[in-house]
Every structure is written in C-alpha cells, then in structure tokens.
C-alpha cells in the first residue's frame, strides 16, 4: 500500500495552510492611501504568494512521486523525538521557575536532571545513590563556574531567589 503522508506531503500541507494564514494577516495590515502601491503590506503579500506557490509545488511533486511509486522509502528516523521534547519540557520548567527560584538553584536542578538523563547507561546504575551524588556535585560545580564567569566577570544580571519577596 502506498504511503501518502510522507515528510514532504505533510510539510507541503502545513506550509500551504501557513501561507493562506499569512496572506490573511497581510490583508489586516493598515495601508494608507499615499503609499503608492508599495505600502507596508507589499512585502508580506509578495512573500505570502511566493510561499503559496512553492508549497503547492512541494505538495504536488510529493504526491506525484507517491502516485508514480518512485518515492524513496523513508527509513527509520534517526530522531528520538520523545527525548528532545522531554528536555524541552525540562527547559520550559527551568525558564518558568528561574524567576522565582533564581538562576543558581534552577541551574543546579536542571543540569543534574539533564546530565543524569543523558549519561551513558554504561557509566552506572541511574538509581545508585553514588552515581546520582556524582552528577549532583558536577552540576553544582558547573553552576558555580558559569555563575563566576557570567555574573562576576561579565557583570551580567541573572534572576535571583525571589520566592520569599
């Protein structure tokens, strides 16, 4: 059975929808009479139409390839998205709590969490207390180094602990 929803077909559909939305947005831009046809919406409309045409070509060629059966079989993706999205969630929490808990506490926790998640399983049992302590110490040292470089040397202001205030 032919697999119609290939990478290119999916991206073609999404880009087509996006270009339609973009052109709708371009029509919402306030245009004044004196703008001589080259108003603020000129470039957005031009880009919107070009993207519409290009995404239609992408979609059409992808569908045509599938129809003719000459689509190169997409092998197993090298990406393990759950890992990336899991870490994105961790990052979102890091950013969310940085305002309240401050840079130091949040960074130690984030580094500890990600390091223990990313470490090579050959290095040891992730539930072992010694193993976890090692990563906690590394996380604390790295946070101190980063803090010293950026806050002390470069004089950059980073969020501080503000839960009590």
């Amino acid at each position: 059975m032919k697999k119609w929803l290939t990478k290119d077909t999916c991206s073609g559909i999404v880009l087509l929808a996006f270009s339609v939305w973009w052109l709708w947005g371009a029509n919402q831009i306030n245009v004044r009479e004196m703008d001589n046809g080259l108003a603020a919406d000129y470039m957005p409309k031009l880009l919107g139409y070009v993207l519409l045409v290009l995404s239609a070509i992408l979609l059409a060629t992808s569908l045509l390839k599938t129809y003719r059966g000459c689509h190169v079989e997409e092998g197993k993706s090298p990406y393990r998205h759950w890992k990336a999205f899991g870490l994105l969630a961790g990052l979102a929490l890091y950013c969310l709590f940085m305002d309240k808990l401050g840079f130091v506490i949040c960074t130690v926790l984030f580094l500890f969490g990600t390091m223990s998640a990313l470490c090579d399983p050959k290095e040891g049992n992730k539930k072992d207390i010694k193993f976890l302590a090692k990563y906690l110490i590394i996380a604390a040292i790295l946070t101190a180094v980063i803090y010293a470089i950026f806050v002390v040397a470069f004089k950059i202001t980073l969020p501080e602990f503000s839960l009590m205030s």
């Binding site: 990478k7 991206s11 245009v31 080259l38 957005p44 990336a84 390091m115 470490c119 980063i146």
Partner: protein, 497 residues
C-alpha cells in the same frame, strides 16, 4: 598611521588580548567537538559582547570564528567526524593519516595550512575591503537588493541539495523579519496586540535558538556523537621540507577559499570541496587522494580558513554576510548600534583597523594553539556529551536572557530552537532562513525604494549594470539546478532508447 597605532593599542591592551586568546581557544574547543560548531559558539557569545567596547567584542568574536573553523580539523583527523561542516573534506585524508600512526602530523599539516589560508585571506581582506567599500558608496537601492537576492539564491542553490526547500526556508526567514513595525512607514505587522513584538523578533535570541538550542535538541534526540579518541597524538610539526612541498597548494587553496568566502552566502564546505577537487585534478598522483594524502588535507584546510577573511569583506563593506558565522556577527554590530556598510569605513576606521589586526593576531594565536595544544584539545574530545550538552543548553538560556534581562527573549530562544528542530526533522536547511532573516530588512527597504524610483517597474534591476550582473547571476543560480535536471533526464532517455 595614528589610526593603526590606536587600533594596535586597543587590540593589544591586556583585556582585549586576553579576550582574543580566550576567543580563539573557545572557538577551537567548539570547532573540535562534533555537534558544537563555530556558528553556535559565535551565536552564544554575541550577547556577552554587549558589556564590552565594540572593538573588543567584535575582535573576540573574530577570534572565535578563526579558531572555530580550524578546530573542526582536530576531530576530522582523530575520530573521522568533521567538527564543522567546513572540515568535511579534511576527514578524507586526515583520518587515514591518523590510522597510519601520523595523527599528530595530520593535525600539524592542518594547523599550518589553516594558518596560511587565514593569512592569505587576511591580506586580501586588508587590501581589498577598503576598495570594495569605495565602490559600494556608489550603490543605490537596486544594487543592494540585487546583491541580497544573489546571496539568497546562491545559498538556496547550494545548501542541503534541495533548491525548493532552500527557497522555502529563505522565504520563512524573510517572513519572520516582516513581523513588527514596517521599516518604511512604521505600521505594525503581524503583532496581534503583543507590544513585545512591535520591535520584531530580537535577532540574537532567534540566532541562539536556531544555532544553539536546535543543535542541542538534535544532539539529544539522535545521540549520535558518542566517540572515543583512540589515536595517539605524537609529533605535531611536519619537517620544513614537507611543509615547503605544500606551499603552492596552501597558497592556491587560500585564494580559492577567500574568493568563495567573498560570495555572499557561500561558505567553507564549498570552498573546501572546490579546492580539494582542484588539487586532486592537478596532482601527478590523484590515486593517493583519500588514502592519507597530505596535499588533500592541506588544500581542504587552507581553503576553509581562507573563507574566514573573505566572508568578512562583504559583511564589513555591504552589510551582507559571507557565511552563517558572519551572519551572526552582524548581530554583534547591531548590539553596539553599528551599521556595517561603506559608511563604517569613514565613521569608524579605528574599528576596521582593529578587526584587521585582530584577524591576523587570531590566526597567529591559532597556529600557536594548534602546534602546542593539540594534545589537550584531543583530550577534550573525550569529555562526555551528557555533561557538555546540558551546559550548552544553560548557555543558550543565559545568552537569550542577558541582552535585555527579559524572559520573553528566553522564550524566543526555546521557540526558535523548536522551529529549527522541526525544520531539520523535515529536511529543510536552516542557513537560508538565517540569511533571509539577516537580509530581510535590507531586501525589503531597498526593493521598495528601487520600485518607488522606477515607478513600479522591475526592469530597474536590469538597467543598472552592477544590479543587472547580480540579478542575472541570482536567476542563473535558481534556474541552473532545474536545467541540469532536465538535461540529465534527456540524456537518460537517449541512453534508454
């Protein structure tokens, strides 16, 4: 002469010199570790130049750039993985040399040829940048738009091997630049009530997201860089006789690299490929290429470091980046409210001289680092990525935050990191999007000005000679892959029949 002396004093002042030494070293580390690139290093460091004097900050970034491009050769020779895309060709001969027990010598050849390539491009930068700026004074909107168009079409044609996806990526970059106030009429576009978006997407967080956060997510999800250096790095420096044997190859490759670097949008990988092919074809023993031939290694390395000086020329004279690293370096100019272009040569000549000097000194530092510190850099390759990657993630967050002390910018870093990751998953190249972002304002403002002058006629881009040359070249870049495809099909059909 006073300007030169002032620039020398500013570059060699203890703090600036220390930053330059640190910049080159950091660049080599980022370049050497596969997965961390020179582009990422510059993107992460741009925000921190905010607190420095313009010359200090930009020269430090030049150091990172020079070190980063060279650093790629270390992992190419030791673990057969190019540290940067520009050192892809270095693996072909560098790694077999290492397998023969000449890993140190391979790094030595790479170091010296990178130095020669860098110095050749530095001389051309110093001699020609001022001349190009003089010509650029005469450029009008039509010329600027056509150069931007040429740069965009060139990068679309060469990146990722898929013209259509490259074009889409560039268009998305241009679209992102449309968000915020219109540069001509100050009308808001695609803001939807968010006042934070009135100034548009801040350039630096977007770059950090696309080159720092995206790379972090890709590394985490693929986990492909788990490697161990097994080769012993012995004697580094090849003999004088061996080096003199390579002198013409290094000089020629440095020149090829510089020329490719000058072309807006083209970069190290193309330069290294062209130079490698040129050396192989001219060689009396082409069959040895790919089996640990020093000629191949030297041509690739001299060319990719030759690109560095070349790429700085259009950045300084036209405000058009030569490659992805200089695209981000333009952000450093923005951080200091400096607009690159011909006026920079009259308004801030001291900065120009500081960049020239910084570039040459960075190359000398790179040579010293390479010859005396290669063994240390080889050890850095053994640091587990599980420890390095989370640190990179934290650096991206700090980089995003530090520009305006705003968590909104940190969210932008994450958002654009995610966008870049999704685009990579769907095989869309990122560099055209970055170039679209960088050239967006230049494109729009000059396109509209040119069309106002010509009363709406697009022929203006063919009436002015310089504009005509770049427009036609840009069109050829876009059309040539299609023509090539048709020709290949026609030849295939003929063969079959």
């Amino acid at each position: 002469m006073d300007l030169f002396a002032n620039a020398l004093m500013s570059v060699l002042s203890p703090s600036s010199f220390f930053l330059l030494i640190g910049g080159v070293g950091l660049g080599i580390i980022f370049g050497a570790i596969p997965g961390l690139t020179a582009t990422m290093a510059v993107a992460l460091l741009v925000p921190f130049t905010y607190s420095m004097a313009p010359a200090q900050g930009i020269v430090a970034l030049v150091g990172v750039y020079v070190g980063g491009i060279y650093g790629g050769s270390i992992s190419a020779c030791l673990v057969n993985i190019p540290g940067t895309p520009a050192s892809m060709l270095t693996t072909i001969d560098g790694y077999p040399m290492g397998q023969r027990g000449e890993a140190g010598k391979a790094i030595g050849y790479a170091t010296v040829s990178s130095f020669v390539g860098g110095i050749v491009s530095g001389i051309i930068l110093i001699v020609f940048a001022g001349q190009v700026a003089k010509i650029a004074y005469k450029f009008g909107p039509a010329e600027y738009f056509s150069i931007a168009f040429f740069g965009l079409s060139l990068i679309c044609a060469v990146s990722g091997g898929n013209l259509l996806k490259g074009l889409i990526s560039a268009i998305i970059g241009l679209m992102i630049k449309c968000v915020g106030m219109d540069p001509v009429t100050s009308v808001s576009r695609y803001v939807f009530g968010y006042t934070s978006l009135l100034g548009g997407f801040t350039f630096i967080p977007v770059m950090i997201g696309l080159f720092g956060m995206r790379e972090f997510l890709i590394q985490v999800s693929t986990g492909r860089y788990r490697f161990q250096v097994e080769q012993r790095v012995g004697k580094i420096l090849p003999s004088l006789k061996e080096l003199l044997h390579e002198k013409w190859i290094m000089l020629r490759s440095g020149l090829i690299g510089t020329f490719i670097g000058i072309l807006p949008g083209a970069g190290g990988p193309i330069a290294a490929f062209l130079s490698y092919e040129c050396t192989r074809r001219l060689s009396k023993h082409p069959e040895t290429f790919g089996k640990g031939e020093p000629d191949g290694l030297c041509s690739s390395e001299a060319a990719n470091n030759g690109v560095t000086g070349g790429a700085i020329i259009p950045m300084l004279t036209l405000g058009v980046p030569g490659d992805s690293v200089t695209a981000i370096m333009l952000g450093a100019f923005m951080v200091h409210n400096i607009t690159p272009g011909p006026n920079l040569f009259t308004n801030s000549p001291d900065l120009i001289y500081a960049i020239y000097l910084g570039f040459i000194i960075a190359n000398v530092l790179m040579l010293i680092y390479g010859l005396f510190g290669a063994k240390v850099f080889a050890k850095i390759l053994n640091v587990p990525m599980g420890i390095l990657l989370p640190c990179v993630a934290v650096l991206t967050v700090i980089g995003g935050y530090s520009i305006r002390n705003s968590l909104f910018d940190v969210r932008l870093v994450v958002l654009f990191g995610l966008l870049g990751y999704v685009m990579s998953c769907f095989d869309f190249p990122i560099v055209p999007m970055v170039l679209g972002l960088v050239l967006g304002q230049l494109c729009e403002a000059n396109l509209r000005s040119a069309l106002v002058i010509s009363k709406g006629s697009w022929w203006i881009f063919f009436e002015h000679p310089i504009a005509c040359v770049f427009t036609v070249l840009g069109l050829i870049m876009l059309i040539s892959p299609l023509i090539a495809k048709i020709l290949v099909k026609a030849v295939d059909r003929k063969k079959n029949s």
